[in-house]
Assembly symmetry: D2
């Protein structure tokens, strides 16, 4: 690793690829993400957990969407609502230390070394509540839909108001967003506010699963990018394993998968998999589990292209995105 | 910290309380959990994430339920399905190393240093699918309910079949279980299987949130125990913040909360909070965030009794439970 | 893992051994440490890093010494000086938060959630300086010795003054202490103070290595216990690898080791190895490296009894010590 | 954080500085390191721990030396010997998995995902042994010196043989290297080999401390860069605290420091401090301790420019070096 003046970002990443430990892995992540994007047979799923939108990373996710590098996004509810605060023209602020009880009283919410203004948060929540009220009024009764359908419509609403965020970009580019625990976020609060105003919406978690697994019929092969772990990673991992269960004959029409000893199901492992995480394998949980562990489950392919980068995404993600951009000329 | 022969567990924990770092915090966790249990004004919520049921910790959760030390449980779907495998008489096995592609072919799924048999997993999934088919047949149409209601009924089903697990124990003891991303687990697969057999159930995520927040009307004060982070922690944290949104006048009938600058909502911080986690604050995410950060959000009380123990729950939880058992004579 | 009222500590540890993740490993650590202690052919080395004496763990190390469960100790300088503060009758104090610049002015030094009084620290340093002055005066000139020899003599000095700490206990029980970076601690400051008073001592790092490796002649097999990583772990690991280099014929007289392709040296891997650490393998460093990595170096035995427990030692060490005490009836 | 095609590295780092978490801190690290380099009053100390030379990072350290951006280096012994293997024309190799007992037999030593050839390691050790034999023969008797003096002479030896590594670059540029636990590395083995050939050298640890602290007389203000923790960090931290102890009147001639309650010593906190680490504060140890904790000890300045970046150095260090290079035009 020589220090070369005015080196490009991708050139630096390639040099890291000749070292070891996580620097080497960062370089492999760029390689594998580039490969999965240019592989025409591959549908790309991205999981997006952690408080990353607050830390400005949502614009990188939007860039993936706008370049149509990803096909399906599975975020936490926070990550697709806290970006709206900035898209509405408000800001998050950098903190140096600070007393949490003072911040509470003054109306600031802390995210490690950042803070947001509670009234901005409330305004964003109210915007979602307005949308829900409109939606319920338009549909009548107690409309019931998947989070995907709900977010597609919300994308249209946001787009119509000129709010340029993850959900509206996904709407414009036909990227499906599934958010399996959507109420665990400002979306839940907005549902509650709408309920207080007499509008009741139902978000059908089962429909999420059925619609998500039904994508399998349109998919040849899959690649996954996990930013963080949690529900987004777990949910996407399942895509490799369970979609055939819905046919009551354990096979996806038109696809060929792998069989295992003792069970009837078919398995369709992800061909490419990249994870950026700050968790560790030794705690036994899914968020820090190696992608190799996923091989035993049929979630990752034997001989597939997989890498886990142990690094804060606020460092790894900008580097990866810029290096991929250089490689793809985007 | 003297080594005293044949010391009791709680006596050791008390001695740790006089040291520092995480040993000291483990001792504080025992103290605070004991306090919140014996405080008659307090409703206790437990979040339960990580692959802990597979590692045998589910019997400790069941013990909390059976002693009625907790009132509400928010688990991941995995943690309230993978226990059923053992409750059905099957087992998980300890691994020493092992090749993941071999495990795949032979039908084993790896969880760090443990593995389960895929056909046992499938049998457990099928049991849930059978329940769903029965439920849909009994209700007719496409029944729509919260995960709480779904799990209450499933508890009755399991109890009727003599399967003694977390969900059936909660059923017997009237403990509500909310599982906001329930499909991200074998429950999703079971829904898919039932769908393949022509039965469609709807799990209303919005109902989860409304029912969960409505508990606020019956609650005086709250204590929380977080085993891991993720959706379970985040969801319970929100209980302190948002329930009044549903009244369209921003106040829970009969409760008095705190106000903040610039917003109309009322805040009802948790009086007691204990978290066991292996995540770290410096990554900015919720799972590793300090409970002090929660103070800025109005989620934890200024001057409340709070502690975070950074430790694998397979070590911390058994110690805490046994020490609490000694203190409460359970 | 059932909750059993008034269970003994070792009984709980045995139950953890039937679970997974770090709970299982803690149980294996107790097993392996017990085995290495009762194996008559085995010399036990303990590495002792981290700010653990300040957190009261030094009394557990002393207990290992006084029971003659370990034969050689390799600590950091801090861990065998900061215990002296307590042995002199002073204390460390528990902090709840606190402003570092205030602590500085008031004369307190912080160790995460503990603090010590700078004047106590200074008094302990002065005591070491007094010993050095006495030693130099008695020897004349600029005495030059290994840290082992220096600490053996200092143990006698402390014992004569009734100061009951790690170094004096090791003196009484014939346990050798090697401290390869001894000046990086209050010992360095004491050397500086003595130097200011006109007394110059020399601590020969090369003698440390030669004396340490010469132990190989009296040793049959080895077991190692690493509390933390750093120099103590690395130094003890080397015992397995390099002692034969000093004979210029690459074999320890009277011992039979393993040979490797392409080199003349002989390797004598540790038969038992236990590590308690909070570091992680993915950073590539020695402190978090798996003991399996040590197999490639000839430092741990193929088929040997090895385990790494990822846990704060302020939790793991007291549990391990009490469980071992129960098993050995000490 | 927008994705901007063909952005420069420093431009990306500046953009990270507007985000949060570790991305923001990486940017602050670049800022503070640049400031301390251009501040003429400041002597810069670098600590260098972890297995980083093996991972190719030694060329970045050499770049810091050759640009005279640092004045004093405190490495582990491994980091200034394992680079020599590459400087001698040998290589380290990247591993994908691999069986440690196979690697042992075949003569490879593993470093997480890299390996080295034992015979190359041995050759490097033999080279150091040759130097020691020459040195002892030239000096006669049992020469006794600090690690600094030993390494200065070894730098001349390497330079004479055209071996371009950290130690020879430091020799050429007058950068002092202190290695307080030098024998805990191939240097120890080399000392053992020379001893087997009848040559005895003494490395005086006390001289290290006295020479290191005597630098205080030539220093106005200090800046520190810690890559990893361990002895290198701890040793450099002490520079701020203890040098005046050697004057028996507790004040460095010509410098003005801070006083604390209850003690006579003077404190000279570091004005700038940057740490890159993968450890965490909650374990209480020095390697993961915040630099804020150092304020309580008088090691870091109140109001000083300090930042800790939690990131693998194989990612953080190349980025920092290239961004600093752009800012300084080097």
């Amino acid at each position: 690793m020589e220090v070369v003046p005015h080196r490009g970002i991708d050139d630096l990443v390639r040099a890291m690829g000749k070292t070891g430990f996580q620097g080497r892995r960062l370089s492999e992540a760029v390689e594998i993400i580039t490969e999965m994007i240019i592989d025409d047979d591959v549908t790309v799923f991205m999981g997006y957990a952690g408080s990353l939108s607050v830390a400005g990373q949502w614009r990188i996710i939007k860039w993936f969407i706008e370049n149509e590098y990803i096909d399906v996004l599975v975020p936490t509810g926070a990550n697709i609502s806290e970006d709206i605060v900035e898209a509405m023209g408000r800001s998050y602020y950098q903190l140096d230390g600070g007393d949490d009880s003072y911040l509470f009283k003054e109306g600031y919410n802390r995210y490690f070394d950042l803070c947001g203004v509670e009234s901005d948060y409330f305004e964003m929540t109210s915007l979602i509540a307005d949308f829900i009220c409109d939606l319920v009024d338009a549909e009548g009764g107690e409309p019931c839909m998947s989070s995907r359908e709900f977010l597609r419509r919300f994308g249209g609403f946001l787009d119509g108001r000129g709010i340029d965020c993850i959900v509206s970009a996904a709407y414009r580019h036909g990227v499906d967003i599934f958010c399996p625990a959507i109420v665990d976020s400002p979306y839940g609060d907005a549902i509650l506010m709408a309920y207080g105003r007499g509008r009741r919406i139902r978000i059908d978690n089962a429909a999420d699963y059925i619609e998500f697994m039904s994508l399998a019929e349109r998919v040849k092969e899959t690649g996954v990018i996990y930013i963080g772990g949690g529900v987004p990673k777990d949910f996407i991992q399942l895509f490799a394993v369970t979609p055939d269960l819905m046919y009551d004959r354990f096979e996806i029409p038109g696809r060929k998968g792998l069989k295992r000893k003792g069970v009837k199901e078919t398995f369709y492992p992800h061909k490419y998999a990249v994870q950026i995480t700050t968790d560790s394998p030794q705690w036994g949980g899914l968020s820090g589990a190696t992608l190799e562990e996923g091989i035993s489950w049929g979630k990752e392919a034997v001989g597939g292209r997989i890498v886990t980068v142990y690094c804060d995404a606020t460092i790894a993600l900008p580097i990866i995105a810029h290096a991929v951009a250089e490689r793809l000329g985007s």
